[in-house]
């Protein structure tokens, strides 16, 4: 792991961000039905951001500085993810998710891990 970490640190820098746009007026909730649909429509009407305002967070995600690398960003600023993710259990879950996901991705595109130095 440390070998690959060192190799990664010599790579040309790309900033990777996770963007939270907030609740916006979009089609994402479009597949809800019945009472759920009505509730979502009301919630959207009352507090959802316009699509354009929500999209500003996407633009912020690609103009963020290196301090945002690997960070979750809300309202265009770095924000901590849910606290349990930082606990020992959370870290173990991350590793588990990472390993099992990469196994599937390697089947779909053999060598993908190596191509990004993972």
């Amino acid at each position: 792991m440390s070998r690959t970490a060192a190799a990664r640190s010599n790579l040309p820098h790309v900033t990777i961000t996770l963007v939270n746009p907030g609740l916006c007026k979009t089609n994402l909730q479009g597949d809800a039905a019945g009472a759920m649909k009505v509730m979502m429509a009301i919630t959207q009407f009352l507090i959802a951001r316009s699509t354009e305002k929500g999209s500003r967070t996407l633009v912020a995600g690609v103009t963020a500085g290196p301090e945002s690398n690997g960070e979750f960003m809300s309202d265009g600023k770095n924000q901590e993810v849910e606290p349990w993710i930082y606990t020992e259990a959370g870290k173990k879950i991350q590793t588990k998710v990472f390993d099992q996901t990469m196994k599937i991705l390697e089947k779909r595109e053999p060598g993908i891990g190596a191509s990004v130095c993972l």
């Binding site: 790309v14 265009g76 259990a89 879950i93 099992q100 996901t101």
Partner: protein
């Protein structure tokens, strides 16, 4: 039995933060120029991707790829964007509509290939395309559809084009490449019920036990050291 993890989402705090943000915070209007840069936005025929694409075009990007499932919708989006930015007259050449279907691994990999072979550079990739399905459980390629689209294909594509972003930085030192994956604070409201299973994906793809409510936007967060 696999190791069991005790996880407590702080839903009350998350809910208060959510409402405060929705009611009182407006992200600032983007003004930074994208002159000379190539940008890709997936799921850009409507919603957030569409509006983000409009910003990139308005801010002078050299090339803008709108990646969509349905080309005709992408073309309508392109037309709408071009008309809304009258100070530019090069929309026809600058904006390209490329097909991308994240339910399909072949389509996902073909898109990545095209990025690598057709684009001279890639400065920013916005992985915005995603789906919600309510309670509807369907399998695509043996995987539950939201996991296929929002997690597996999104990550496959992101990792596939990451080398192109790095190459761009190497060839064009002034470039500041970014990979932005659209996620959600909704992650704060789920304890990730499948976390204790030894085989996560078997659990996620099992219709009998699937808790679709936790999947409304199931973008599992990876903290990689890049």
């Amino acid at each position: 039995m696999a190791e069991q993890y005790d996880v407590k989402p702080e839903s009350g705090k998350a809910a208060r933060r959510f409402f405060r943000s929705q009611l009182f915070v407006t992200p600032p209007y983007p003004t930074r120029s994208f002159a000379g840069e190539t940008v890709i936005v997936t799921g850009a025929n409507s919603g957030l991707g569409f509006e983000a694409a409009r910003h990139f075009y308005r801010l002078g990007c050299a090339k803008l790829i709108i990646a969509v499932r349905t080309i005709s919708k992408g073309n309508s989006a392109k037309q709408n964007i071009v008309q809304s930015v009258p100070q530019r007259t090069d929309g026809g050449k600058v904006i390209q509509v490329w097909p991308l279907d994240l339910t399909d691994t072949k389509s996902t990999l073909a898109f990545a290939s095209r990025v690598k072979s057709e684009l001279g550079r890639l400065d920013h990739f916005v992985a915005n395309a995603g789906i919600t399905v309510g309670d509807k459980f369907t399998l695509v390629e043996g995987v539950e559809s939201t996991i296929q689209v929002n997690v597996l294909s999104t990550l496959l594509l992101a990792l596939s084009i990451l080398p192109k972003l790095r190459d761009t930085k190497e060839q064009f030192p002034a470039s500041d490449p970014h990979l932005a994956i659209v996620s959600s604070e909704v992650h704060r409201f789920t304890a990730f019920p499948e976390r204790n299973e030894s085989d996560l994906y078997a659990a996620l793809n099992d219709k009998k036990t699937a808790k679709m409510g936790d999947r409304s936007v199931y973008l599992i967060r990876f903290r990689w050291e890049f």
